[in-house]
């Protein structure tokens, strides 16, 4: 009897396990941000891309989307269970998108876009003083 109860408990745990992802903080709100990675050449200063954010919740929420270090970006929803937001941005360092409560006090979910610089291999240019075009 005890074994059967344990088996049911184990099955319920497996089937009912929440979808855990890096972008999920807390139990209800999930945040998905694209792209997850922005790859730029070593010579480029900025990653210029359209940041697309999408969030979902099991119940209606009142929350705001903000970007760390970008006080001008703020989009709020009042009693919604999902929302989408996109914006053209140029950034040189990793970008963190957050969902916060309307007072911006608590982080409900967070996701980051990593900036990866491709290493450019360099070599010396051929300098030929003999060449008439040098």
């Amino acid at each position: 009897m005890r074994a059967r109860s344990f088996a049911w408990l184990l099955l319920a745990t497996i089937v009912g396990a929440p979808d855990v992802s890096a972008a999920q903080v807390g139990s209800a709100v999930t945040l998905d941000v694209k792209p997850r990675v922005c790859t730029i050449a070593e010579t480029d200063e900025l990653c210029e891309t359209t940041v697309r954010a999408q969030w979902r919740s099991e119940r209606d929420e009142s929350l705001c989307l903000v970007i760390v270090g970008r006080p001008e970006v703020k989009r709020c929803w009042d009693n919604y269970s999902e929302g989408r937001y996109s914006i053209e941005l140029a950034f040189s360092e990793d970008l963190t998108v957050q969902l916060r409560d309307p007072n911006l006090e608590h982080v409900l979910a967070s996701a980051a876009i990593a900036v990866i610089r491709q290493a450019v291999e360099l070599r010396r240019k051929r300098k030929q003083p003999w060449n008439i075009l040098y």
Binding site: T43, V120, E121, L122, R123, R124, K125, R126, K127, Q128, P129, W130, I132, L133, Y134
Partner: protein, 281 residues
């Protein structure tokens, strides 16, 4: 003077001294450093002319001068030259190269080295010409076919502070005349601020086979080797990130065995050009 010049150049190239003054390391793309695996195309558009020392041949106008290059990890393509880098330090580079012989430009206007210059060859190859019995040996020699040739060899490039030098020891590998060339030059920046003014001096030594192939006349004029010194003054002024103004004057004195050829009427070649250079990519 014969092959000792070539052998000396080979020795110098292979025994290139240890760095005296190291150049700046390549940390970012610049005029001195290029990205591996990327093509670079620039086009100079302007007005210029190269004098032609060959009797009866017009001077060569210069309007458009493209410059195309590609650098791999070791391989490189630089206009009509290509090569493989054996050693590269911050101030010395040792390359194996293939480079065209340049004398042909004076005989054939449509030589690839006379890029984008309008008009057809001034001197036709045998068979294309209306050869008459009155044609003298000199005229026949002038009209003789001269194929495109390629030299292969080693090239030593070095930097001494802001000055740069070059020494190349070359052998004609396409089997037309099997001659030798040694090319050497040294360039010193007189002004190097936003604008640059560079004075260069150098030489080309051509073995008798090279000189004979272009300037000899069978049974009539059989030249020896030739030593051609040159000086050049070049000016460049950047206008924008992709555009600059450039101008240069290049004066090359022809060695006596070339200047004395009956095919040649001038003992020097002067090239001058002024225009704008656009970096396409």
């Amino acid at each position: 003077m014969s092959r000792w010049m070539f052998e000396l150049a080979i020795a110098l190239v292979l025994l290139a001294p240890a760095p005296l003054l190291a150049g700046a390391p390549c940390t970012a793309p610049s005029a001195d450093c290029v990205a591996v695996g990327e093509w670079d195309l620039s086009v100079a558009i302007g007005i210029g002319e190269r004098s032609n020392p060959i009797a009866g041949n017009d001077d060569i106008p210069l309007f458009v001068i493209p410059q195309l290059s590609f650098y791999g990890k070791r391989f490189f393509l630089d206009n009509l030259e290509f090569g493989y880098t054996l050693i590269e330090t911050e101030s010395h580079t040792l390359n194996l190269i293939a480079t065209p012989g340049y004398d042909r430009v004076f005989f054939f206007r449509n030589d690839p080295q006379n890029f984008f210059v309008p008009g057809v060859g001034l001197v036709s190859a045998p068979g294309e010409a209306d050869v008459s019995e009155e044609m003298t040996r000199v005229e026949i020699a002038a009209r003789r076919a001269r194929s495109t040739t390629y030299f292969t060899g080693t090239e030593w490039l070095f930097e001494l502070g802001r000055s740069v030098g070059q020494l190349s020891a070359l052998y004609e590998a396409t089997g037309r005349h099997k001659g030798y060339e040694v090319r050497g030059a040294f360039a010193v920046p007189l002004v190097q601020a936003t604008a640059s003014l560079v004075l260069s001096a150098g030489f080309t030594w051509k073995s008798s086979q090279v000189v004979d192939y272009y300037y000899g006349i069978d049974g009539y004029y059989e030249p020896g080797d030739a030593f051609n010194p040159f000086v050049k003054l070049g000016f460049s002024q950047p206008i924008s990130e992709r555009c600059s103004f450039t101008a240069f004057v290049h004066y090359e004195r022809l060695g006596s065995s070339i200047a004395d050829s009956p095919l040649v009427t001038e003992d020097a070649v002067t090239t001058a050009f002024a225009g704008f250079v656009w970096r396409v990519f």
